[in-house]
């Protein structure tokens, strides 16, 4: 596997983490809004 491919896969994993975090944050905010 070339360095560029490995970096591409690492970036996909990092961005997957960012999107998972944002999605979880949005759900948490929605729950807090409902409880207000």
């Amino acid at each position: 596997m070339s360095g560029v491919t490995a970096l591409g896969i690492a970036m996909l994993v990092i961005w997957g983490g960012i999107f998972a975090f944002l999605w979880a944050l949005e759900r948490r905010v929605a729950r807090l809004e409902d409880s207000e």
């Binding site: 360095g3 591409g8 996909l12 944002l22």
Partner: protein
């Protein structure tokens, strides 16, 4: 975004004269674009607040500035990584680097100012005026000052890497860049919405206290 990442690393050809490290271009440019867009949105929300006196606009403006600061910081870091590869040094006090650092300091002061004012209405008014002035300063610093005569910059001017005057822009580079810009803009819109809702929750709690 998954498509942009895959295309940036696997489909796009290496950028002319920049090699494989030039692929950071697909992240650096959209981060800088989103930073500018976010500061424009913050200034727009500031104007709306000054006209309507609705505190929800203050939350929107603060959220846009927060997300803009994050993306401007990422543009600075990715620019430094790129500078290390292209120029051999992380930080060169290049006019562009100095300008973006000043923008970060201006918005850092904006957050310090916000956190120092207790009254929500007073905080909103002062922040709104500050965000409009800060946006004007940011546009001048990033887009006008580095182009002033006598300032030598190593930063590429708005010429796309891979732009061969004889053959035009490499179509794959342009496509990936446009897709990255669209993806980052969508990501900004999502983050801005979430952050605005968080800020409004804080505001409601502050008002109920």
């Amino acid at each position: 975004m998954a498509g942009v990442i895959a295309a940036a690393f696997l489909w796009s050809p290496p950028l002319q004269g920049l090699g494989e490290a030039g692929r950071i271009f697909y992240f650096h440019v959209p981060c800088a674009w989103v930073g500018t867009l976010a500061f424009l949105c913050a200034a727009y929300a500031g104007l709306k607040y000054l006209r309507t006196r609705d505190l929800e606009w203050d939350s929107s403006g603060a959220a846009a500035a927060q997300v803009g600061f994050l993306f401007t910081f990422l543009a600075t870091v990715s620019g430094a990584v790129w500078a290390q590869e292209a120029w051999g040094r992380w930080w060169n006090w290049d006019p562009r680097q100095t300008a973006i650092l000043m923008v970060l300091l201006i918005y850092g002061a904006y957050f310090a100012l916000r956190s120092s004012i207790e009254s929500a209405e007073r905080r909103a008014s002062i922040s709104a005026a500050y965000s409009i002035l800060a946006m004007v300063a940011a546009i001048f610093l990033v887009y006008v000052a580095p182009r002033l005569p006598g300032l030598d910059t190593l930063h590429p001017s708005p010429v796309l890497p891979g732009n061969d005057p004889d053959r035009g822009i490499e179509p794959r580079i342009l496509m990936v860049l446009l897709a990255a810009l669209a993806g980052f803009t969508g990501l900004f819109a999502w983050m801005w919405r979430i952050q605005t809702r968080v800020d409004r929750l804080f505001l409601r709690r502050e008002q109920n206290r």
